[in-house]
Amino acid sequence: MGHEFRDYSRESCPTVKNILLLDSEGKRVAVKYYSDDWQAHAAKLAFEKSVFTKTLKTNARSEAEITMFDGYIVVYKFIHDLHFFVTAGDDENELILASVLQGFTESVALLLRNDVEKRTALENLDLILLCIDEIVDGGIILETDPNNIAGKVATNAVDGAVPFSEQTISQALATAREHLARSLLK
């Protein structure tokens, strides 16, 4: 995992430093770092522990929450036993980060068919990893629309008989509606 990271200045482009998905005990489900701020494995774990304990007692269930420490802003949201975090430098636009977090949580919900919990997430870890891969590329925001993200991931679902190989979810829904309309017209 020895990627070479480049920290882009805030001037040129909003940058995400990491995306974390932890369980209710702070253990990793899936994480991805885009910054050299934490090089050693231990440094990453220390950051995760710190962000987990700092946010543990907050109620980040209905609305995304935010905190700032050690020069970072972290936006986060909890769903069942899963804790979603997106981190950036403290000069970043909070609302841009919030849109990344929203893209993350909602696309995961779509992919897990609303069964957003640790066990399902682990059982479908491939989808979660692909999902993170579609949201941010090397720190640069790739996509924030949950439907587009889920659509791009779902085209790759392992199932051999993928029903909509090149379609996004919204397109798939549109075809579904067409089918439905025709059957009603009969």
Binding site: M1, E11, G138, I140, T144, K152, G160
Partner: protein, 887 residues
């Protein structure tokens, strides 16, 4: 879509700890990875194994190089499979493995094929993978495809190419810069994210070309940008253009209308970006601020915590420079004190403390008291700091603020928090005379039940200094003596010293103090007993130190101004003998950290003999030793100071010369470290010819030539000057290196008989006032300041004209005076409008000097400075002013 990864085991189903990857082990998974090599690829099984490997990597485990290579090669076999899901997992795997250059070649052709596939998903991902792993040569091969991809009608493909371009720009800028036309076309894309990525890349391609950036901003702000993310970028670029055109203050700012129009955008992230950009404009006026503050105020009452946080954070920053502009939001802000998000609450509180007026202080304090109980220590510290500055702003309110501080001091809290409170109270005691007694009283109460030895000793020390000067010193004795009875040895020893100070300074208390000190003679700790014995003997008159009472007190309680490191070093060097250790022999100069000498490649080090080659730490001793060994210099007395070496030649010249200035009471020795970098030459009889016509007070008395200077073997020549005794004479010297040069055959080393006289122009050299000042720290600046005769104080104000920044002005004054900055006051906080800097030093003639500098900066960067000097000798105080006035 949500396919279970592994077969569920019904028995485990009910267990709480069921985990699909339970007991997973790297070795076993790598065994499983052999399925990749099967002739009949099972896509489902292979995807599962890849997921397992990714899981292991994600948990922080790593593959050895051999394991990595093995997995990589088997994964590449999977390109035979047409299964799109498996292909996608392969892409992920290849990126995670970050293959070596040799391995990359194995997959390049497969990935290039995918890049030209009919399937958009393949194309987009193959581009992203390739751009992550390739080097410049392969980039040249695929450049054509990437350029096409940028303008691809599929937005996913275009975005993949553009983002790859942003990454590649760092490594191969010259290639990516050729894509300018395509990127420009993509900026006009209808797809929102393509526009965003294209704009980001276009800006990065052009960012060093100011004119191009200005053009870009001017054309795009007219309204062709639809994507909110792209709009945020454009706001950043526009404010940069504004910043760079900042020089012409007159008239309207360019693009301000654009920023203002973004405040009405429908996306909140754009509104926030614009509002923040406006508040950060340099020299922003309140008229410009108003619309931005208005939208931020609306955000304050949003239901979304992120929005409230963003707004209050921005307003908090504005409050530092434009508190009045924010006062309109105070009511909304007050309701945020009870916000469940403590970051928001803390920011609201500190903003209110900055913007509040005198009449609102009491009400605010009541609200904060409720709030303090349930926030973390790190937030509490922020609040305490804000309260301290509030108190300094409204000194009349000290009573309620001091009360607040003493209340929170009594509550639970960690060391850092308690320290912040104690520091605040100490600051208030210092700066608000009325608050002194009440503050001391609160601190007395605190040490009755203080678990932190460090804080107890600090407070006891403060009480010893301040207590005897209060209206009723006797009431503190009880608190101090309680420490002697109840505390650990460190605190007991501090308490004994404090008692002794009361005894020494308040005659009426002396008999009572003696009784208490005598009890301490039976203490179980020897430091406590030693201190008690010393104080009893000296204060009781049994042992005599100095002639007057003042000298006695100076001996007992004076500040210890010798750097402890130096003392330690001297003590280590001391060998037991008839002569007792003499503390005055300990050097007072603070030695800078040993700096590794920076030598440009090819430039030879000045060699073992040159003092510059060793670490700076040993420099002064080495100088003293080597100089006193030269008979002509032995009579000059004690070396006062040696400067750091100053280069008199450019790097990479034929002869490298640097100079060290050695200052004595009545002499200055210039030591020239010379080095010859030409193998074909031998220099003989090297001297430096000095023209001192611009240094009137100096008279050359002696020159010590350097007999021979062979290649790569440095040596020194000295020139000594006489100057009036104890006077800090300054002047400029121009220097010429004179020598006889002889040809050398580098192969045989043979030297020709006849030499030619030659000379070499060196740069000018200056002796400045800073050369007569030793950087000597004091442990407690305030005590040292107050310990000096107020009569010696000289105060004056100076204008420093327009400076780059406050920090630059502060550093300039520090380096002119050559003094030691105390208590970290050389650091100027960002954006601060004023700064106080404390300096200490010893001036030639062993005159202790302390300086208080107060700086202020006005809008157009005009800096003004107030300089207050105290010293052992009022004439020296005047001299410091002369230095500044002439510097």
């Amino acid at each position: 879509m949500a396919q279970p990864m592994l077969k569920k085991d019904d028995d485990r189903d009910d267990e709480v700890d069921y985990h699909p990857f339970f007991g997973i082990e790297k070795g076993a998974v790598l065994q499983e990875a052999r399925v990749f090599n099967d002739p009949q690829i099972d896509p489902r099984r292979c995807s599962q194994v890849i997921t397992k490997v990714l899981y292991i990597l994600n948990q922080g485990d790593t593959l050895t190089q051999i394991e990595g290579t093995e997995v990589f090669f088997s994964v590449t076999k999977l390109f035979q499979s047409k299964d799109p899901g498996l292909r996608r997992m392969m892409y992920l795997m290849i990126k995670e493995l970050s293959p070596s250059a040799g391995e990359v070649i194995m997959v390049t052709s497969s990935l290039m094929k995918d890049m030209n596939s009919k399937t958009d998903m393949y194309r987009a991902n193959a581009i992203r993978v390739l751009s992550r792993i390739i080097d410049g040569t392969i980039l040249a091969q695929i450049e054509r495809y990437l350029k096409q991809a940028i303008v691809d009608k599929n937005p996913v493909v275009a975005s993949a190419a553009l983002v790859s371009g942003i990454h590649l720009l760092q490594t191969s800028p010259e290639v990516v810069k050729r894509w300018s036309n395509e990127v420009q076309e993509a900026v006009q894309s209808r797809a929102s994210l393509v526009q965003f990525h294209a704009l980001a890349l276009l800006y990065q391609i052009r960012q060093h070309d100011r004119l191009a950036v200005t053009k870009l901003v001017t054309s795009l702000t007219k309204g062709s940008v639809r994507s909110p993310l792209a709009q945020c970028l454009l706001i950043r670029y526009a404010s940069q253009v504004i910043r760079e055109s900042g020089a012409n203050q007159a008239g309207e700012r360019p693009h301000f209308d654009y920023l203002e129009s973004c405040l009405r955008h429908k996306a909140e992230m754009v509104i926030l970006e614009a509002a923040r950009a406006i508040t950060e404009l340099s020299g922003v006026t309140s008229r410009e601020l108003t619309p931005a503050i208005t939208v931020l105020q609306l955000f304050l009452s949003s239901s979304k915590p992120v929005l409230r946080f963003a707004a209050v954070r921005t307003l908090n920053k504005v409050a530092m420079t434009h508190p009045l502009a924010v006062t309109n939001c105070n009511i909304d802000m007050e309701s945020l004190i009870s916000d469940s998000n403590r970051s928001i609450a803390t920011l609201a509180i500190t903003t209110l403390l900055k913007t509040g007026n005198e009449s609102s202080v009491d009400r605010l304090m009541k609200q904060i008291t409720n709030f303090m109980a349930d926030i973390a220590d790190e937030f509490k510290i922020v609040v305490v700091d804000a309260i301290r500055s509030l108190c300094l702003k409204f000194p009349l309110k000290y009573r309620s603020l001091m009360n607040f501080l003493s209340n929170i001091l009594r509550e639970e809290g960690g060391f850092e928090y308690k320290k912040a409170i104690v520091d605040s109270i100490v600051t208030l005691i210092r700066d608000i005379p009325e608050a002194k007694e009440i503050g001391l009283f609160h601190l007395c109460e605190f040490i009755e039940d203080c678990e932190f030895t460090y804080l107890s000793t600090q407070i006891l020390h403060l009480m010893g200094n301040e207590g005897p000067r209060t209206s009723d010193p006797s009431k503190y004795i009880r608190y101090v003596y309680n420490r002697v009875i109840l505390e650990n040895a460190t605190v007991r020893a501090a308490a004994v010293s404090t008692l002794a100070k009361f005894g020494a300074l308040v005659d009426s208390l002396k008999p009572r103090i003696f009784v208490l000190l005598r009890r301490c003679l039976f203490d179980s700790d020897d430091e406590v007993r030693d201190r008690a014995t010393l104080y009893l003997k000296v204060l009781g008159g049994e042992a005599v130190v100095g002639e007057t009472e003042k000298e006695t007190n100076e001996f007992l309680f004076g500040s210890f101004d010798i750097p402890l490191v130096n003392l330690e070093a001297s003590l280590k060097n001391y060998e037991p003998s008839e002569t007792p250790f003499d503390i005055s022999s300990v050097p007072r100069e603070v030695r800078s950290q040993p700096l590794a000498e920076k030598k440009a490649a090819g430039k030879k080090p000045t060699g073992p003999a040159g003092p510059t080659s060793g670490p700076v730490v040993s420099a002064i001793d080495a100088y003293e030793k080597s100089l006193s060994s030269i008979p002509e210099f032995a009579a000059f007395g004690k070396l006062f100071k040696s400067s750091a070496p100053v280069e008199l030649t450019e790097a990479e010249t034929e002869y490298a010369v640097s100079v060290v200035k050695h200052i004595y009471d009545g002499h200055v020795i210039l030591q020239f470290n010379c080095s010859n970098t030409i193998p074909e030459q031998l220099l003989e009889n090297v001297t430096v010819l000095i023209d001192a016509s611009e240094a009137e007070d100096f008279a050359e008395v002696y020159t010590k030539p350097l007999r021979s200077l062979p290649y790569d073997s440095p040596g020194q020549t000295f020139v000594a000057f006489e100057k009036p005794d104890g006077v800090p004479a300054v002047g400029k010297f121009s220097n010429i290196l004179k020598f006889i040069v002889k040809e050398v055959d580098p192969a045989s080393g043979e030297v020709e008989e006849d030499g030619v006289e030659d000379e070499y122009q060196l740069e000018e050299l200056e002796v400045t006032y800073a050369d007569y000042m030793l950087k000597v720290p004091v442990s407690n600046f305030r005590n040292a300041w107050e310990g000096m005769d107020p009569e010696s104080e000289r105060v004056d104000e100076y204008g420093l004209g327009a400076r780059e920044s406050l920090a630059e002005a502060v550093n300039a004054v520090i380096s002119i005076l050559g003094m030691h900055p105390c208590e970290g006051t050389e650091v100027v906080a960002n954006n601060s409008r004023s700064h106080t800097c404390l300096l200490s030093g010893v001036f030639i003639g062993n005159v202790k000097v302390l300086v208080r500098l107060s700086f202020g900066i006005s809008g157009p960067k005009e800096v003004a400075m107030k300089l207050a000097v105290r010293s052992d000798d009022p004439d020296v105080s005047d001299r410091i002013h002369e230095i500044v006035a002439s510097g």
